[in-house]
Symmetry: C2
Subunit: 198 residues, 2 copies
């Protein structure tokens, strides 16, 4: 053991975080040695606070302090349109566009046979009861543009369509500000396919 036990232990704990290798873990732990005590305390408290205070909204599945969450209880939002996303971070990405004022449904992941994640592991069963009242007129499927996201969108569409509700999928295409020849062929083909009159 080359580091004193508390440091070795902190390096170990940092290493367990995703994307943090042993070198980064060491760098972070040694930074903690130098940082003011209040800052280390503050990080420690923030970690525990997340575990103590964060729950999932029983309606939409988003992470929240209060159940139901702010979005589900916001009277200014349109209950006729429901956006289905994989993860809370995708909901945040949608919110940042400031273009969507409907409600959300967070699945908690995507269908992935590779990782052993099937429809029953997602909040798909909680989706249908939300559509039963007839209030929702459109479901926007905003799952990821990868294989798992596509599979999940197709699966969800097949569930929802029999209810006579409009089901849409966010468009594939070129990233704004990108370069045409930096985009892969599949994306460019989709962008061509999805072309619209201007």
């Amino acid at each position: 053991m080359l580091y004193a036990e508390p440091i070795a232990r902190l390096i170990g704990e940092f290493s367990r975080l995703p994307g943090i290798g042993p070198k980064t873990a060491q760098r972070l732990a040694l930074h903690v040695v130098r940082m003011p005590r209040e800052q280390a305390q503050s990080l420690a408290e923030a970690l525990v606070a997340v575990k103590d205070r964060i729950i999932h909204c029983s309606i939409c599945g988003n992470i929240t302090e209060n159940d139901p969450c702010r979005i589900c209880t916001d009277p200014g939002r349109d209950p006729a349109i429901l956006c289905v996303v994989e993860e809370p971070k995708d909901l945040v990405a949608m919110e940042k566009t400031r273009e969507f004022r409907g409600h959300y449904h967070v699945l908690g992941g995507a269908i992935s046979p590779m990782e052993g994640i099937g429809p029953d592991d997602l909040r798909l069963k909680e989706l249908l009861p939300r559509l039963a009242s007839g209030e929702v007129k459109e479901v926007v499927l905003a799952t990821g543009p990868d294989v798992e996201g596509e599979a999940t969108a197709l699966y969800a569409a097949r569930l929802i369509k029999p209810l006579g509700i409009r089901v849409t999928r966010i468009a594939h295409g070129l990233p704004v500000g990108g370069d045409l020849d930096y985009v892969d062929e599949v994306t460019l083909a989709r962008a061509l396919e999805g072309r619209r009159e201007i």
Copy 2:
């Protein structure tokens, strides 16, 4: 505020760590939401334990739980040879070579006029008293192979030489401009082996 307060706060705390940008901080905070409570608690405790239990060795300046540290109190080590390094991580890198069995002196940095770090900001003043007893026969300067490390080595050499003690510098062979603890053990062992009088 797009995330609930405890999550936003944790993202903020992670962002303050070196090399952790806003995207990584978000990824880490959302990982904490999913991780077992015990793991978050364990990371929080490890953070506080480092602040509670880690001190600097009053002899060598290394980080330790006990003062003096394990290396300074190890009777199996050779007190005739003293290795001067910038940071605790450099000491660990030296230890990993298993080639050095002497004592250490950790400066706490390197002379850097750019960052306003002068000789008085380092543990250079604590170095001379350690050499006064005449027990130390050789000082190995293992500061980094960059400009600051070289300047620090030269400065230290000028302080030590009048005492009639042999002063050596670990060999070049280290990639210039690199960081001591990013070098593989074999290279660092070679550099130690090839040290020359300055």
